[in-house]
């Protein structure tokens, strides 16, 4: 009996201790300046420079100008699930920047779970700058405004917006320009051109020239942005054809694409390790001259490789190619193109004590002064007005401390690192199109019919999101695995119909119908 008492006592003490340490203290503003807690992930390039956003000059200036103190939530690096855990703890920061579409069930579910506040009234009352911007966008057409709302028409966050092509198109096919020149070849346009060029690369340089980095469906892989698949009118993502929503995994045309890829793979035109290369392995292959063609970004691929190689191999040069087509003269069916509304937005949590202050803080960036601050930083420090054009100073473009341009921009301007504001085209021109090769590539990549096929913000309705999730994980695992097997020949393409049947058995059509319904709910 006494032992039982002792054990109960010990358990009691333990639970009390745990409970006591779980109680969080509340922050009180001392000098009358309101304080907000801000959840925002610094990109890797910033995280290695400063402990927290607090130390970045841009944020010191921003707090001063808007008259609100900010406490940034400390986010450990590599903490992919940090926010999920934070939300699971039930103790939220005041404002949270996140890809709300990735919340289980989407932004609508986050609202109904009472994590974040619906913002329609808040925008009307406390966010004049953003409200007038939304009014202008509404007049241009409903698409962009819909992308900022849940299916029920609720605004869930302060968006990041971009209205310039230079800022919207930033991924595409790239080739070694010096190799092409050596061999007297033109930049390929059709799939047959590509076959010829890759074959010539293989023979001349003794490599499997087309390479990429895992995971296989990301932008840096040979499947990236459906670059080659789009020639066969296949898009390996949810997309729209007329009013029909579909996914490339279930398109019968996928077969033709896979036949070609398998042919290239067998012929040694594709790096057999495109499945397993991680980014650093892949980049070493680029630097060592083992890669002749790849899919990549304007800034972090083309810009970085050209800068790195300028000292190591002066011959090294890259050129962008248009998204490939089947017949010469065809207009590319699809290519990477980001929507005007970036799917990352800053929401106000339900635990904020003062919604008006939070809204005022976020709305500032959409006004005249705030816009210049987050895009260009402080005049005279990070930019100078030259003939009405805000030009970055050497602090950004040729940093005296040796920071890369991306890092310097992260510290002195907000926008290169995400955030809720309008991204200025004059920023994009100076950063993304710094080199002539980049400007030329973006000019080519822009030429696609992507707008016809993109649907920004498409998500299944909350009532079916569980069911959709259950189906889609299975479909996705199956499709990714088998697409790879078809390409490498581990599975014969004569079994392609079995693949489609299996996809159907797993519920592809049901999932597609959920997306179709979501699309119809969005557009009506």
């Amino acid at each position: 009996m006494k032992r039982l008492v002792l054990i109960t006592f010990l358990i009691g003490v333990t639970i009390a201790m745990v409970w006591a340490t779980g109680q969080s203290e509340t922050t009180v503003s001392d000098d009358g300046v309101p304080t907000l807690t801000y959840y925002r992930t610094p990109p890797g390039v910033i995280a290695t420079l400063v402990d927290s956003w607090e130390e970045a000059p841009i944020w010191q200036a921003y707090q001063e100008q808007v008259g609100i103190d900010i406490e940034f939530v400390k986010i450990p690096q590599d903490a992919a699930n940090h926010l999920s855990l934070l939300i699971a703890s039930g103790d939220y920061p005041d404002i949270i920047e996140n890809f709300w579409g990735r919340y289980p069930g989407g932004a609508a579910q986050a609202i109904s779970d009472e994590v974040i506040t619906p913002l329609n009234d808040v925008f009307d009352q406390y966010a004049p700058n953003l409200s007038s911007l939304i009014g202008e966008m509404q007049q241009a057409g409903p698409g962009n405004v819909l992308a900022m709302q849940t299916g029920e028409g609720e605004f869930f966050g302060f968006p990041m917006l971009r209205f310039y092509d230079e800022a919207l198109v930033f991924v595409g096919p790239q080739l070694r320009a010096d190799w092409l020149e050596n061999l007297g070849l033109d930049v390929p346009e059709t799939i047959d051109d590509w076959t010829a060029v890759l074959t010539a690369f293989r023979d001349e340089y003794d490599v499997a020239p087309l390479s990429g980095a895992a995971p296989v469906l990301n932008s840096r892989n040979i499947f990236g942005e459906s670059s080659f698949a789009s020639a066969y009118e296949v898009i390996l993502d949810w997309h729209r054809v007329g009013d029909r929503i579909q996914h490339g995994f279930g398109q019968p045309e996928l077969r033709d694409f896979l036949v070609k890829m398998n042919e290239w793979y067998e012929a040694g035109l594709i790096d057999p390790e495109f499945v397993t290369n991680d980014r650093s392995v892949f980049e070493n292959k680029v630097y060592n001259g083992n890669v002749g063609a790849f899919i990549g970004f304007t800034g972090s691929s083309m810009g970085t490789y050209l800068n790195t190689m300028s000292s190591r191999d002066p011959e090294f040069d890259l050129v962008g190619a248009k998204y490939p087509v089947l017949n010469r003269g065809d207009y590319p069916y699809y290519g990477q193109r980001s929507g005007n509304v970036v799917p990352r937005a800053t929401a106000i949590s339900t635990q904020v004590s003062d919604v008006a202050t939070a809204a005022r803080f976020l709305d500032y960036a959409y006004g005249e002064e705030g816009h210049m601050l987050v895009n260009f930083g402080i005049e005279g420090v990070s930019y100078e007005m030259i003939d009405g054009f805000p030009r970055y100073t050497d602090l950004i473009t040729d940093n005296p401390d040796g920071l890369t341009m991306a890092a310097a921009m992260g510290l002195y301007t907000g926008i290169s690192a995400g955030g809720s504001a309008v991204q200025d085209g004059r920023y994009a021109v100076q950063y993304l199109l710094n080199l002539p090769q980049q400007a030329d590539a973006v000019e080519k990549w822009k030429q696609t019919d992507a707008v016809e096929h993109l649907v920004v913000g498409l998500a299944p309705a909350p009532s079916v999101s569980d069911d959709f999730g259950a189906i889609w994980t299975e479909v996705q695992t199956y499709a990714e695995e088998n697409i790879l097997k078809f390409v490498t020949g581990a599975r014969s393409l004569s079994e392609f119909d079995d693949y489609l049947d299996q996809l159907e058995a797993m519920g592809y059509e049901t999932a597609r119908q959920y997306m179709q319904n979501a699309y119809e709910a969005m557009t009506n």
């Binding site: 009996m1 010990l10 057999p272 390790e273 994980t473 299975e474 990714e480």
Partner: protein, 302 residues
């Protein structure tokens, strides 16, 4: 009477009980309180609502797992990988310990021990990084394959090679550390037994069979029982670091499946349901192995 006697004993040994307290607290906090979290396997857990407010869904997540087209595949892979690791990996440290025990040169023995322990202290991420690098077309393993007259292939893209690569690297990682407990058991064997055996004319091998192995048997049995309790648990971290969709066929196991469900698709309830199921099966296995062992060898955990 008895109780007051017990209380007096506790009072006498209060320092020992005090020393026990941190461990008691540790187990309650980190192993017993979290058990309540298993409730979410039967709920549609949403973090904002919390464990208690989330709606009940009964066995629907269990049902989803059983009807998943991948159920049999992940179960088969788990059992295959786990059993292969057990069959190859369990005897390895015993053999190593026995061999080390026979080595006379202390310096040589120390060096071998240190070298075999070393992988245990290397972070798993680094280990997996090494394996990935060595398995590439230009990597060390392929150099060896070529030296033996083979052809270069990306080893980690071949479904049939995954289990051998996994098991071999597992043995390499754990053999040294695992041998420590056997070495300490060996040091407790009474030297008189060996002397007596030598007088009786037993050679080294005879001594091994008649004295060393029987003395080790209780340790071996206990460790084996503990090991079988983890039969359905294959370390997901290492597999996640090594696998890719092309070899899911042989590498996707229950824990990696749960990982993708729970932390990538944020379906915590589903993950918990599968995890709970896993633990129940592991529990059943360990209890029955223990009973079997008690009957057969008279050695058991409890």
């Amino acid at each position: 009477m008895l109780q007051s006697g017990r209380m007096r004993r506790i009072a006498n040994d209060r320092v020992l009980y005090l020393m026990l307290l941190p461990f008691f607290v540790y187990f309650v906090v980190f192993h017993y309180i979290p058990l309540f979290g298993n409730i979410i396997a039967f709920k549609r857990y949403s973090p904002a609502r919390g464990i208690f407010e989330s709606p009940w869904v009964g066995f629907s997540y269990f049902q989803q797992f059983f009807t998943s087209s991948y159920f049999w595949r992940v179960l088969r892979n788990t059992v295959v990988i786990s059993l292969s690791t057990l069959i190859v990996g369990f005897p390895a440290p015993i053999i190593l310990a026995l061999m080390l025990n026979e080595v006379r040169s202390t310096a040589y023995k120390r060096i071998i021990q240190s070298v075999t322990y070393l992988p245990h202290f290397v972070s798993l991420v680094v280990v997996a990084g090494l394996i990935v690098q060595f398995s590439t077309i230009e990597g060390l393993f392929n150099d060896i394959v070529v030296a033996l007259g083979g052809r270069r292939i990306p080893l980690l893209q071949e479904a049939r090679l995954f289990v051998p690569i996994y098991v071999t690297s597992e043995v390499w990682q754990t053999v040294g550390w695992g041998s420590i407990i056997y070495l300490s058991a060996l040091s407790t064997i009474d030297p008189n037994l060996y002397e007596a055996a030598v007088i009786d004319g037993a050679g080294r091998f005879r001594q091994l069979l008649a004295i060393t192995l029987p003395s080790l048997l209780p340790t071996i049995v206990v460790l084996l029982i503990l090991r079988t309790g983890r039969l359905l648990t294959v370390g997901h971290e290492k597999i996640i670091l090594l696998y890719n969709p092309l070899i899911y066929e042989t590498s996707d196991v229950i824990t990696t499946f749960v990982y993708r469900k729970g932390l990538i698709d944020l379906n915590w309830s589903y993950s918990t349901a599968v995890g709970l199921l896993n633990s129940v099966v592991n529990g059943v296995i360990i209890v029955s192995m223990n009973a079997l062992s008690r009957r057969v060898s008279e050695t058991s955990l409890w």
